[in-house]
């Protein structure tokens, strides 16, 4: 589950900043096909042929499942998950009224906050650290980006061993400096931050790479000019780097949020949604409802899937709106 190329299909968010600059190009694309008629029959056939593979996949694995998901969310089901009774909005009502779901939504929100903000802050910090073009900096850039070469599962497994109460490396390290052990994954207060740490460790490698690319795209001339004006490093960061990096950071915030909403592997490996449900996010709750504990409550799980989709939809739309303004400003 990499951040930008997330497991899901929501990754275009990452491309949005490109949309705007491509604006003029899009106009020319239309102009390019002249004269303005709807193509020859031959062209139409070719277009259909070219689109057919993608359309087939989308129809089968996106649009049809989408319809069935919504359909299933209006039904109660038997032990095997087959829909047996139309219940209208009852599944959605269960989500809204069950206090357990309130906890799921709060947990999801906290998980987003605890992963997105630290990974961007750390990524930016690391990027600034390795920005100076000094001898051997390439090595450090590579080293600091290394966690990203871990897959989500590999990182989670490693942290899982580190966190163990009995054999835990982390508690061992704490004991060397005289700090009492922490119940990393077993205390309801520590579990979510611990889970977030494992995610952030890996994700910060990615945010660093993106921030670094953003920093490198800022013309050196700007820094030169400011240096002549006697600007301090801090002032340079505040008045040059940060504003010009805003679209990049905003992009990272959106992509990381969507990524966080989709996170599953780390939760499955590290906490199974526990303790006491304190790390059960929406996606994990969906999994538990549909497949966990021998239950096959596909109706309720589908309703949660629809909810997840709506949340991602809203974020995407907001992102388009905001970026539409931001990018030109930048």
């Amino acid at each position: 589950m990499t951040p930008a190329p997330a497991e899901g299909g929501t990754r275009m968010a990452g491309e949005a900043p490109r949309v705007a600059p491509a604006g003029p190009a899009r106009a020319s694309a239309h102009a390019r096909v002249a004269p303005r008629r709807r193509g020859s029959a031959r062209d139409r056939a070719t277009a259909l042929l070219f689109l057919a593979p993608s359309l087939l996949v989308f129809a089968t694995f996106v649009f049809y499942p989408l319809a069935r998901s919504i359909y299933l969310s209006f039904f109660a089901n038997d032990l095997l998950g087959a829909p047996v009774a139309f219940v209208g909005f009852e599944q959605y009502l269960r989500i809204v009224t069950d206090p357990r779901f309130a906890q799921v939504m709060t947990t999801t929100a906290w998980f987003v906050v605890l992963t997105v903000i630290p990974s961007i802050a750390i990524g930016l910090g690391l990027a600034l650290l390795v920005r100076p073009k000094i001898a051997g900096i390439g090595l450090f850039r590579t080293l600091l980006a290394t966690p990203f070469a871990f897959s989500a599962a590999a990182a989670a497994v490693v942290f899982d061993v580190f966190y163990r109460p009995g054999i835990g490396l982390f508690n061992g390290l704490l004991s060397y400096i005289g700090v009492p052990p922490v119940d990393w994954l077993t205390s309801p207060t520590a579990a979510l931050p611990s889970l977030a740490l494992a995610v952030v460790w890996r994700h910060a490698g990615y945010t660093m790479l993106v921030c670094l690319a953003g920093l490198e795209s800022i013309p050196d001339a700007l820094y030169e000019a400011s240096r002549i004006d006697g600007a301090s490093r801090l002032a340079q960061f505040r008045y040059i780097s940060l504003p010009l990096l805003t679209p990049t950071l905003f992009f990272l915030a959106v992509i990381s949020t969507i990524h966080a909403l989709q996170t599953f592997g780390e939760i499955k490996i590290l906490t199974h949604g526990g303790p006491a449900g304190t790390t059960t996010t929406l996606v994990y709750s969906l999994y538990e409802t549909a497949f966990g504990l021998g239950s096959s409550d596909y109706g309720l799980a589908s309703a949660q899937g629809v909810l997840l989709m709506l949340i991602v939809l809203v974020i995407t739309v907001v992102q388009f709106r905001v970026l539409g303004r931001r990018v030109f400003y930048a």
Binding site: T60, R164, G166, T186, L293, G294
Partner: protein
């Protein structure tokens, strides 16, 4: 409103989509060729949840069977993760009609598998496959018997035990030959066993993982039924029997042990409890016998094993059998089903059970296994190996010790975990947590009973 026509329409939609997707599949023909070829002998697939050393022990049995049946039957054992994950896989596999031939399900999943109607009662197959079910321990067979029919082979049966560090007992001035017998005694002993350095605890007196299974065992010891309808044995259970003084006392005791720093709560991962005990960080552990062999070997001190403590003095109920049983999936070709039954029968044979038992800590469910030299020798080396069987000698003699037979038991165990956890953390009182849990379970049970059409 029941719309019985709609699913069919959806199915039709599914079929059209299927057809479309099949066209796409052409692209994958080359890859499909990589699929394993059909073997000449009868291939039997077993899904199980035995990891680590116990997994190795199971693989050894499978290898032995395969060698003996070379050319005729080949069993492939596939680890599907812990019991919960494996059960989820099983449910999903019903959808895809890719069920294994034989599957291991833990005891609390029994009612669910029974209701899913995907298995052949093992009692119908055992004789033909060469196993006399009369040789199996009656009490344990009772757990897996419905309407007089044995549903599955109780392959790995375990008993809860109290493990204690004899070396630490001596250090603390306790008699290593007189382990505590009640929860109150556990508390007293644990207090003496705690070692503190400043504000750091270097040794806890007691450790337990948060595991509802341990609570189910206390029900057995207290001779109380866990769910109504005679533990779900006389009819469909409709409620759990949680919010009672006895249970509240146990949960309160549990919470106090941990909150007072006398005991260590090892979270929900069994391995963490074992690690805390075998590394000497905690001097007593209540835990299943399933890993006894491994634990004794790993510990650097003298391990004592004692009967599971009673909630209160004077309570002399029975512990229940934990572990899992093995089910034969129905709807397979006759030859395959026969091969599967033969394998399961082998797993229940005296030889297999003696080997299995001594390599793990599960009890030998075949009464004849205890007479075999392999088992005798193991007991001669470690007298402890005889204890789990002794603990389960009287299982199923009362409704309480037959264990609750209920479809949502997996969820109940998890909910019980939540209740215990919230009390340990001081977030809730035992009374409130149990009342709450009982109420949530009532809704789940009702939903389940509705889903099976009752």
């Amino acid at each position: 409103m029941i719309v019985d026509k709609l699913p069919r329409q959806v199915r039709a939609g599914g079929r059209i989509a299927s057809r479309i997707a099949r066209i796409l599949a052409l692209a994958c023909l080359a890859l499909a060729a990589v699929q394993p070829a059909v073997a000449a002998e009868e291939a039997v697939t077993l899904w199980h949840s035995m990891g680590g050393r116990n997994g190795e022990a199971l693989n050894a049995l499978v290898d032995e069977f395969n060698t003996a049946q070379a050319g005729k039957i080949k069993v492939t054992a596939i680890f599907q993760g812990p019991y919960g994950d494996a059960l989820a896989k099983l449910k999903a596999a019903i959808q895809s009609k890719q069920l294994p031939d034989v599957v291991q399900v833990n005891e609390i999943g029994s009612r669910l598998v029974y209701d899913l109607k995907i298995t052949v009662p093992f009692g119908d197959l055992a004789k033909g496959a060469g196993l006399d079910t009369n040789d199996l321990l009656k009490g344990i067979v009772a757990y897996y018997t419905v309407d007089g029919k044995l549903l599955s082979l109780p392959f790995n049966a375990s008993a809860p035990m109290l493990y204690y560090n004899k070396t630490a007992f001596k250090e603390a001035g306790l008699d290593p030959d007189k382990p505590p017998r009640t929860l109150a005694e556990v508390r007293t002993a644990a207090e003496k066993l705690v070692v503190r350095q400043g504000d750091r605890t270097t040794r806890y007196g007691f450790v337990a993982t948060i595991d509802g299974w341990l609570m189910e065992q206390f029900y057995g010891r207290a001779n109380l039924e866990y769910c109504n309808q005679g533990n779900g044995r006389n009819g469909l259970a409709t409620a759990v029997n949680w919010n009672i003084p006895e249970t509240r006392d146990i949960v309160t005791w549990w919470g106090a042990m941990m909150r007072d720093g006398v005991g260590l709560s090892a979270g929900r991962q069994n391995n963490d409890g074992i690690a805390a005990f075998t590394s000497g960080r905690a001097a007593m552990l209540i835990f299943t016998s399933a890993n006894m062999r491994d634990m004794i070997r790993e510990s650097k001190f003298d391990v004592g094993v004692a009967p599971y403590p009673a909630p209160k003095a004077g309570m002399d109920g029975q512990v229940l059998n934990g572990g899992a049983s093995i089910w034969v999936i129905k709807g397979k070709p006759a030859a395959k089903q026969a091969a599967a039954a033969k394998f399961v029968a082998y797993l229940g044979s005296p030889e297999a059970q003696a080997q299995w038992s001594t390599r793990t800590g599960y009890i030998p469910v075949n009464a004849k296994a205890v007479d075999l030299p392999a088992f005798q020798q193991a007991v001669a080396r470690n007298a402890e190996f005889a204890l789990p069987s002794k603990a389960l000698a009287g299982v199923a003699s009362t409704p309480a010790s037959r264990g609750c037979f209920m479809g949502v038991m997996p969820e109940a165990r998890q909910k019980m975990n939540d209740a215990i956890e919230s009390v340990i953390l001081g977030r809730d009182t035992a009374e409130h947590a149990l009342a709450d849990g009982q109420q949530t379970m009532a809704a789940s049970i009702a939903a389940y009973n509705r889903a099976i059409g009752k």
